[in-house]
């Protein structure tokens, strides 16, 4: 069972690696922004599997912290950049 858990952790890391290879290069900053989201979700998945396999204590707290802060990079990205131009029509209240 331990080997299975580790193998699936490796598989998830592999999909993250392949995904990173694609979106870190490209085109547009929004794609790169997704890299942080990808590593967040995939990283938490592998983290939980590795924790279950190796029995390290306290790893759920690390995953909790990561999950809590997963959206921060995207929020910062959206925050920055575009100068305050015409308001988004969807924002009209």
């Amino acid at each position: 069972m331990t080997d299975f858990l580790l193998a699936t952790a490796g598989a998830i890391l592999f999909t993250v690696a392949v995904g990173l290879a694609r979106i870190l290069g490209g085109p547009g900053d929004a794609d790169r922004m997704m890299a942080a989201q990808l590593i967040g979700t995939g990283g938490i998945g592998s983290l939980l599997l590795i924790a279950a396999a190796t029995g390290a204590r306290g790893v759920e707290d690390v995953a909790l912290g990561l999950a809590l802060l997963a959206a921060f990079a995207s929020a910062a990205f959206v925050n920055s950049g575009a100068p305050a131009e015409d308001p988004d029509p969807a924002d009209r209240r």
Binding site: G10, D29, R32, M33, I50, A56, L68, F72, V78
Partner: protein, 319 residues
């Protein structure tokens, strides 16, 4: 080759690849995203090295605080660079920087790989005396009991960093409120995220700080999570950043190192030497110190991300 070893090698390779990409990335924003991804991968590495406290710090600081700081900085640089015309470094300084970095890496690798198998370590002694401190987490014991003086000085460095950032303000803005990191316009989605995350984050931050006495965690990690919660509430424009001249802000900043110092001096009076804890009272004193440390960290980190004051201080007391 066991599955665990293959996983470790794959992880190491991925970290190298992301680091290399970050170095060669074109554009500041691409590099900062690479750096954030690199930080998150490092958390995994720390877990594999059984340094869970460090992994927690890496996750909290790398994604929450540093990520926001770097992405905001990259955005501001992009605006400035397009205005001023970008000039990148020529070949020779780059080569020098690269060779210095490679030299340092090789030296570190040699030191680590050439360690004798039973490297010199104080770990057995620190574990042996752990019950006297009343703590269950040896990392916390090292930070606040065995090497308390270092940790206090680290908090002083944090306060000095905030003062340094504030001193970048224009003379007329000294004491005013920092400008970043607010959204240009109210974003309902971001506001929703902040409203849901902030209470949860505060709870989780306090939990991680409190649990640090016996499990991986501690004041710095808890404080970093609380700092990130304040940052996102400010980003969503749900609250304004305070004036840097505000008394409560300055008091909160110095509370951590101050209480730490007082505890150290009190140790000299009541327990025999500087930073000694009275036997049996060690854990309550440690938690008391850590509470104020969490406050200082939770206030200092957002101030570092916010940057120097950009608005002139309001003098009539209105905010």
């Amino acid at each position: 080759m066991s599955v665990l070893k293959a996983l470790d090698i794959g992880l190491a390779f991925l970290v190298f690849a992301v680091a290399a990409w970050t170095i060669f990335a074109r554009g500041a924003f691409a590099a900062t995203v690479g750096y954030v991804v690199y930080g998150l991968l490092l958390s995994l590495v720390w877990i594999r090295l059984f340094a869970v406290d460090v992994a927690l710090t890496e996750a909290a600081i790398g994604s929450g605080v540093t990520g926001v700081l770097l992405i905001g900085a990259a955005a501001r640089l992009r605006g400035a660079a397009s205005a001023a015309g970008e000039k990148s470094l020529s070949g020779a300084p780059r080569l020098l920087a690269a060779s210095l970095c490679i030299l340092v890496v090789l030296a570190l690798a040699a030191v680590v790989l050439l360690f004798p198998d039973q490297g010199p370590s104080l770990a057995p002694q620190s574990m042996r005396h752990l019950p006297e401190t009343g703590l269950g987490n040896p990392v916390t014991a090292v930070l606040i009991a065995y090497r308390a003086f270092d940790t206090m000085l680290e908090k002083v460095v944090l306060v000095l960093a905030v003062v340094g950032v504030w001193s970048l303000a224009a003379d007329r803005c000294w004491g005013g409120a920092p400008g970043e990191p607010r959204a240009e316009r109210p974003e309902p989605t971001l506001a929703f995220l902040a409203q849901v995350l902030a209470p949860l984050g505060i709870l989780i931050g306090i939990h991680i700080f409190w649990v640090g006495a016996d499990e991986p965690g501690g004041a710095f990690q808890g404080g970093a999570i609380l700092a990130a919660m304040w940052i996102i509430v400010v980003m969503a424009r749900l609250t304004e950043l305070p004036q840097t001249s505000a008394a409560w802000l300055r008091l909160a900043l110095v509370a951590g190192p101050l209480v730490f110092l007082i505890a150290g001096v009190a140790g000299a009076i009541f327990a025999g030497s500087f930073f000694a804890y009275p036997p049996g009272l060690a854990k309550p004193v440690i938690l008391f110190i850590e509470t104020f440390m969490v406050l200082s960290i939770a206030v200092a980190l957002p101030m570092l991300v916010a940057g120097p004051p950009r608005r002139e201080p309001k003098v009539d007391g209105s905010r």
